[in-house]
Amino acid sequence: MALHLKMDERDDCDRLDAMAQKIIGTPIDRPEGALKVAGRARYALDMLPAGACHGVLVRATVAKGKLSSVDKDAVMALPGVRAVIADERLLRNPAQGMAGEAPVQGVSDVAYFGQLVALVVADSFEQARHGAQRLKLTLSSDPDVVVRPDDPAADLESPDDQKSEMGDLGRAMVDAAFSIDETYTTPPHASAAMEPHASIAEWSGEKLTLHGSYQMLPFNRSELADALGIDEGNVRILAPYVGGGFGSKLGISQEAVAAAIAAKELGVPVAVAMSRQQVFEGIMRRSETRQRIRLAAGEDGVLTGIGHEAWVSNLPDETFAEPVTQATPFLYQGAHRLIGQHIARVHRTCAGSVRAPGEAVGLTALEIAMDELAEISGIDPLELRLRNIPDKDPTEGIPFSSNKLSEALKVGAEKFGWSERSGTPGTRREGEWLVGMGMASAARVNMLIESKARVTLTGDGVARIESDMTDIGTGTYAVLSQIAGEMLGLPIDHVDVHLGDTDLPRGSGSGGSFGAASNGTAVFLACEDIRNQLCEKLGCDPESLTLKDGHAISGNQRLPFSEILQGTDLVGEGHVEPGKTEEAVRQATFGSYFAEVGVNAVTGETRLRRMLGVFSAGRILNEKTARSQCLGGMTFGIGMALLEELIHDDRDGHIVNRDLAEYHLPVNADVSGLEVVLLDERDGWANPLHAKGIGELGICGAAASIVNAIHNATGVRVRDLPATLDKVLEGLPPLS
């Protein structure tokens, strides 16, 4: 018997708060944490079966052209080499998130520099790599190629469904007491997950088993089957541990299909791992963005108009476009609004979802613009935001499910000591360091994705959770354990979680911050199902049943589960689907950032001194893993503000800095004084857990607080991220 919920109306029960175990929300350690730190959690490539061969992918080194031949013979003659695969089923690029079908195949049409076009398979990894480095490709290079998004020859699409207009922004700008009309740019970003994309493919007759590193297994299974032209019922994907995703593992990627083709051809398991450089070149990048932002405000700083137009890029025919303006329609008020998006078609590495697509870069630019508005209007940046929080979604005219932006701003300002900030830039100096403070709002849309889970309460009083959901380092094992433990009255060590196997019930997958709430709701419903079955056995109604420490308490009886179940199992199934609450209310998460930086007056180097994030995302399922997500997000914000930039060579579009030595992510020394405050909130419009997505919230707008702090420290306004020292240096006064 399955419990099904379509989220058509607000949940007012708030069941979790009524439960007795009191472990939901607590900062428990990850159940699998010890395995991970001891190296005993087995990731995709750790599953190497005896007799497996190794494959190494080979790239094309033209931006656009045709692969006419592959000199297999020379490489086949090398020691250990077993096969050279140049197959038209190989993928041009990974599938976009939730595509559920193969991405573009047919790799002989080369569409970007670094496209992976062949696989060399050998007995050992070293032999395969040697063969791959020897493989001669015959490639033509098409001189008629556009690699720069700002090349006037680039095809530019301006989709109507990404355009919206309310009122008359032009008029509002003219009438405004204060207005901002500026252009901001952000560079392309890489996901840079610690575990590179890696798969082992093994066939048994027509059945394919893939050990992979993926975020969205049900979709990945469909994509893999479609790419291979086989029935998806013959495909099983296993990914119990995933070493980071950040969007880069939403869709099936090149190595999986290559491994499957090779394994079929050779009749042995084949392992293929992408090198770091191949991940940079072959896996999704975040598009660079150019954003024109217009803000119109009255004397009191109250916004009358907001315009946000974005220019992004992608390969020809790719459907994904960085949703830059996603939070702009609802974050601040203003009657006159304009949103637009333009996509340049360029021959660069495919653009896709990377770390909070949309808000990460879009809100960052908007929040720098707000700082500029604060500057010209003479209104404190905090106060300016407080004056502009709308009481309902100003674009859709619907209420917010919950909006704690005001509280997040006030709590953050108080805790950070915002009142200590000097309103005049460049006035606080400590030795060589100019010190400044900046702040920004955080916002991210909230999503619910259809999800199923099965929970079995075994005769000996242990709950087993089963789903093809993934834990990409985010804490899924922990939060699902807590939900089941709370609902079934079990201590955490009496809950086993089995994830990452497509043979298990179809979950939401991990992406868009929706995993914990979506899959967690499915687990919650499965537990409700079990509770109902226990009530039947005990002859009581659900309201009078208390489950705690492995016992059922009803009326004057307290029985251990083992006694009730008599050695049999109870199986509960949960199934949640999004419904009318998606449209009835605006669901989003909110927060605030406060940053203090030192900018070196000699060199322009910016070093973060401290940073606070305050976040509201409904119920916090696990205070520790939620905090870790926010710390990670803020760290990405530091990177976005100061360091990260995927550099394309303008001549052929190739990625120049394709490793972690030269693609600069923050190191420990860059991440100092981070603090996170999580606000207490319940949001029954979201789901019966009253929890919302938190994974990406900490990125959205974070960089703006740092860039705004640089302005406060120096008076230098950086509108082209990252704010590397050369951009700050230009505006610094001469040395005295």
Partner: protein
Amino acid sequence: MIPFDYQRAASAAEATGLARDGATFIAGGTNLLDLMKLEVMAPSRLVDINRLDLGGIEDTTGGGLRIGALVRNSDLAGDPRVRSSYPVLARALLAGASGQLRNKATTGGNLLQRTRCYYFYDTAMPCNKREPGSGCQAIGGATRLHAIFGTSDHCIATHPSDMAVAMRALDASIEIEDSAGNRRSVAISEFYRLPGTTPHIETVLKPGELITAVLLPPPGGTRQAYRKVRDRASYAFALVSVAGVVEMADGRMKRVALAFGGVGPQPWRNAEVEALLEGKAPSAELFEQAAGLLVAKARTQAGNAFKVPLLQRVLSATLNELTKG
């Protein structure tokens, strides 16, 4: 990676004897192994010198230090004599790489590390340093890391070492042994070659020659500083760096040695700048004049033009720090 032979040498004579026909010495291997995996370097043989007796730091009769070629960067940075008498060297070492890398990397290897030019690392790109005669793709490309001094139309790469910059300011010399067992000493100013038309030839070392030690002259009564400017707080190569060694007498700069990293194909020095400063009393105007002289002959690309004002500011600030009080 191209298959290669591996031989462990028991003596310097054996090592130099084995180092022929495309062989390369390996010590820490922190740079070499990466380059071999990428096939940027493809030695026919690795001659492992880690077991040679080249590990100590000794006082010299002249009052300086003799640093064995196999002394690890961490050990050198932590040596009490280096910390007290050659702080510019200790600071430069600690500004480089990461703790793990410094534990592995050696003094000789650090001197010989290869450039971090993006185009050198990508075998699909033309690069005169990697493949003589193929061209330089860095020119006109992404050049944030690249040199503004000493470049040629064939190469604009920098030498990435921090340690070598400090050694250049300290007037170190490099002790070299050839396959006949002869030892000679080469001033660090003569050790590196400018790229010219042969950027693949980076030093005066001849095939088979082994660095056995670095010799530091006595420190004298000097003030020392190393300042490194980089994009992130740690684990990044210098955009520019300055090693300064100044001896003051009667309120004047008696002796000045300044070496610069991140700006040249070798740790860079400019004798005219030092001559301008020597014998004069420190002042902001003088430092500005020196900084202007330093960059007068800079040749920049679009991506590294910022190094000119940056270097001037860093030089002035470093001189100020070295001469105040």
